[in-house]
Symmetry: C2
Subunit: 357 residues, 2 copies
């Protein structure tokens, strides 16, 4: 359905209609020019050759220092998504099952299915503030469970898992010796303190990327922090698949990290202001939601809404959103990406509120 909406949006645009596309999480902001220049300088220096399947030494060392691990625990990947795929590919060979709370990024399930593994979903609810019921969660785990996936902060709710609940999930995982894949791609620019899986002991896997942090979505660069054993396996998989992330892109990412404070401060503030505006407008229209703990999404509910129908109709009013059914069993919800200029977001939100009235 997500793809159907996107295709219809593009079709309408090709017919000359203006569509405010709040259906996908690709920021309107530009990659900071310092990052572009760093890539260009690296290209001119001839950093256009084959390179290590682990990633460049300097970048790995910098990331390792940031996370308080050794460079041996870091591998650079073409986007965090590749980190997710590679980890799932390696842990799910021969089947088994994955346990993950919903609402969720459906690529997890699609990947599991592609690899011949089952996905077991634990539904969480807006009325519980998306709280994971630990007992129910534990009941989903059995002898065939190969991994747990958490997305923290979460897409589509932008909710950060309560640290005590996270403690509980990790306790269950550690007791059963099941690795947690923690997709923390929204973590680096979250509005609230977000506890990382790396703050716990256990054989867990932290995956994140540069896309959201530095508006580098289309550059395709992310990384995985895990045991040396898993990192070595991912590097071996890289050798027979993607070889390496272009070194000039790794150089650009290293430059970005060096300007971290300066570059992300503005980005984070912009998203916080967009979120505040969205909350105000949506609340006024009587929509129910949790205020975002992180960029870029809000996941409001209207009782009785058929969000698929709603999203299709809304397109004719020039606004694209994602129906809640794209994230699990959430027909009354829809996801708004706050990834357009503020004036566009305001226009779109007003049309949305009118439409749900």
């Amino acid at each position: 359905m997500l793809y159907e909406i996107n295709e219809k949006a593009i079709k309408l645009e090709n017919e000359g209609k203006k569509i405010i596309k709040l259906n996908i999480g690709d920021p309107d902001l530009e990659t900071p020019p310092e990052i572009v220049e760093a890539a260009y300088e690296a290209m001119k220096k001839g950093k256009t050759k084959y390179a290590s399947a682990y990633g460049e030494k300097k970048l790995r060392e910098k990331l390792a220092a940031m996370h308080g691990v050794s460079a041996d625990n870091v591998v650079v990947t073409p986007g965090s998504k590749w980190g997710v795929f590679a980890t799932m590919f390696l842990l799910l060979r021969g089947g088994g099952n994955v346990v993950t709370p919903t609402p969720y990024w459906t690529a997890y399930e699609l990947t599991a299915k592609t690899l011949g593994a089952e996905t077991r979903l634990l539904k969480t609810e807006l009325d519980d503030k998306w709280r994971i019921d630990l007992e129910a969660f534990e009941r989903l785990i059995d002898g065939n469970t190969r991994m747990i996936i958490l997305n923290n902060p979460n897409n589509p709710t932008s909710n950060v898992i309560d640290p005590k609940v996270l403690d509980g999930v990790v306790q269950i995982a550690n007791a059963k010796k099941i690795p947690i894949l923690s997709d923390e791609v929204y973590g680096t620019i979250s509005f609230v303190k977000t506890k990382s899986i790396l703050e716990y002991s256990g054989n867990h896997v932290m995956i994140t990327g540069f896309s959201k942090m530095f508006t580098m979505t289309g550059w395709r660069i992310g990384y995985v922090v895990a045991s040396k054993e898993l990192i070595d396996k991912i590097a071996k998989l890289n050798q027979i698949t993607i070889t390496n992330v272009p070194v000039f892109i790794q150089d650009a990412a290293l430059t970005a990290l060096g300007m971290h404070e300066q570059l992300t401060k503005g980005i984070k503030m912009e998203y916080q202001e967009r979120a505040n505006m969205a909350c105000k407008i949506l609340a006024k229209a009587g929509l129910e939601f949790t205020a975002p703990d992180a960029p870029f999404y809000v996941f409001p509910r209207r009782r009785g809404l058929d969000s698929e129908r709603f999203a299709l109709d809304l397109l004719d009013k020039g606004v694209a959103v994602a129906p809640g059914t794209s994230f699990g069993d959430y027909r009354e919800h829809f996801r708004i990406s706050l990834t357009a200029p503020r004036s566009d977001i305001e226009t779109a939100l007003n049309r949305i509120c009118e439409a749900v009235r």
Copy 2:
């Protein structure tokens, strides 16, 4: 062993020794500056966002026109290697076997193994000018054979398959309805006319890239030409793995194609001259080999040689080559990559000849 040699070479370099590295196929030539500028222009234009998992429309259309197919038959991949992996992943799910002649690029077998499939090797010999014995080839195929892999021109021999032999292979494949994955990454700059798998009917897969043609190894861009059905499946796999090749890299590749004649003429001539020089020096030393039909490799033999021992010893003389055992059952052979400046190649070849005396 290939990795052992490479690691030892890097270690010696770190100790301050000069090593002429003819062990890997990464050209010393630089990416033409026009290509670098095109990437930079695209970045500045904001072509740094998520994009189609199929690749950019313009690039696909250009490639389709070059190969006389529809854009629906083309998908852009992060390197030709990803095309190989994706195709094997999709065709070998659940096992089966792959048939391929040797000497061969061992990544095929490694990938098959990673995917739980068997690789069946047909040995070809220098004394037969690497000719594929069609009867023996056909005998290797059985009901579990899911694909045939050809590498044409071949790594490590730089031999182009005789068109009549290729006709025979395709006939067998078509009769048995087995797809051929034809890795033609060295084809675009071969010295002799090279028949592509696309000149045949049948449900075959052609994979190539920009690495060798435009000295863009580290840019990671290639493409697959196949049935729309397979292309759609690869694009779906892209969606859950690599998302897309950065658009600014696709723009650079499109610029490269527009200057094809101009850019590749010089590259091809340089490799032809290196090959001629290598043939002369190696023949004088009594080494046996077939003259390369394409860049970058020569695969000479010395009767009685233990190429693993030889390659390790040669490192102490400041030259890295790849032992023949890295390409199948070829202990008496070794592979020389002509991917260094000509004066370095000459020095290295003379040391090699001295060492085999």
